[in-house]
Symmetry: C2
Subunit: 218 residues, 2 copies
DNA sequence: TTTTAAATTTAGGCAAATCTAAAAATTAAA
DNA sequence: TTTAATTTTTAGATTTGCCTAAATTTAAAA
């Protein structure tokens, strides 16, 4: 049986390997999970014993086939619960993270399937993030990071790639939500920040923010 | 913060004190939680330190005011989730227990309140058990244990006071479900078993079963 | 009322998941 | 290419929740 702590490690490793392609480093995992590097080393050994990750000391870890499957299942559950909270229980998109973080660990295949059906097989969560299906396949996405758009191009927001409360509340304060039209006015080379228009009104955002905004171009 | 294990102990103590009125014994708790008496003693000390129970060594435990409040909250969550599973996700009444056992530990007041609203403030779970409201009040019940009915009297099933799968499946095999009309034909003194009719068809059931069937008399 | 049986607690240990501090390996800098 | 800085791992502890075995207390029986 896989423990709650193990599930959280798998999820963190998945997230990190999506960002950077190569192995997740001990420090990066520790950072992600707000714990100490030594704790990470301990846990990685346990995950290695269970064949959920491949590990070379000092070189980082990668999810194994079965580890990836587990991690994707957790992401699936997390995002389905988020849809439930927003569409059925009227939560706001910046209120769902902590609760979904708990719900994602409920173990019952029947529950996940029934929830998926109940929600009408959604393909994206309330932040626009793709929801893998029963077989672990992610729906194809046509979005780009806002930071990748060229000067002058425009589109609208279809998602965010981070769901922490402070980021979402910052977006709220900028009047950015799913569907908001955005145009890139100027790219500042110095710090990679952007001059953009949000619903025709101009604003300046950092590269950090632009990286986490998913845009579908027009 | 109260841990998962602590929550399970509080729930067990509440259940035991409903059955027997006086303090829950160490052995009874161990039995209920399928653990050892020595483990129970350990945990009781922790609960005592947190002032969730009152404990006199060798004399058993009682829930404190705050312990009772916590325990009732857990019962509330358990039963609300059961309603959700049956009415929204099409689970059968004998399939909900294990999942609800996990869901009851999700911590979010907002979630419980929103779920309650979403479900329409149900007063009973799929087994007919009362659901305490936000303030911890249980709805008034007019049911009796089938074992308490007199010879010749009749009514219909409004609940069961145990939700383990084998009991519920036995009821299914007897064609007993919520609403089923029942009449007491004969009470056997020897073992307190009963001759009854279920939907006009006669059957014989043990006292153990009769105690856990809640009947509203006609 | 003494003896026996049953229930409960204590003592000592173990596994999971974490930590701090120190050692070892790797990477970057001089 | 040595040295310094950083990253990672090891060693040794701690806490939680559980265990077995032994001691103690309470209840039941003779």
């Amino acid at each position: 049986m896989i423990t709650l702590a193990e599930e959280n490690y798998l999820k963190a490793i998945l997230k990190l390997s999506k960002n950077s392609k190569d192995s997740a480093s001990t420090n990066a995992i520790a950072e992600e999970l707000d714990t100490k590097a030594s704790s990470v080393t301990d846990m990685i050994k346990k995950l290695t014993d269970k064949q959920l990750v491949d590990y070379v000391p000092y070189r980082g870890v990668n999810l194994s086939r079965s580890g990836l499957k587990k991690a994707v299942e957790i992401v699936r559950k997390h995002r389905l619960w988020e849809v439930f909270l927003v569409t059925k229980l009227q939560f706001k998109w910046d209120e769902v993270h902590d609760v979904a973080e708990q719900l994602e660990h409920i173990k019952s295949q029947k529950l996940v399937d029934a929830l998926d059906t109940f929600l009408g097989y959604p393909q994206h969560d309330p932040h626009g993030e793709p929801i893998p299906n029963k077989d672990g396949q992610f729906p194809k996405s046509f979005s780009k990071q806002l930071s990748e758009l060229e000067k002058g191009s425009s589109g609208h927001v279809v998602g965010v790639s981070q769901d922490n409360q402070s980021f979402l509340q910052y977006l709220n304060s900028l009047n950015i939500t799913l569907g908001t039209p955005i145009r890139v006015i100027q790219k500042i080379e110095f710090d990679d920040s952007l001059e953009i228009t949000i619903n025709k009104k101009s604003a300046h955002i950092s590269n950090d923010v632009a990286k986490n905004l998913l845009i579908k171009q027009i």
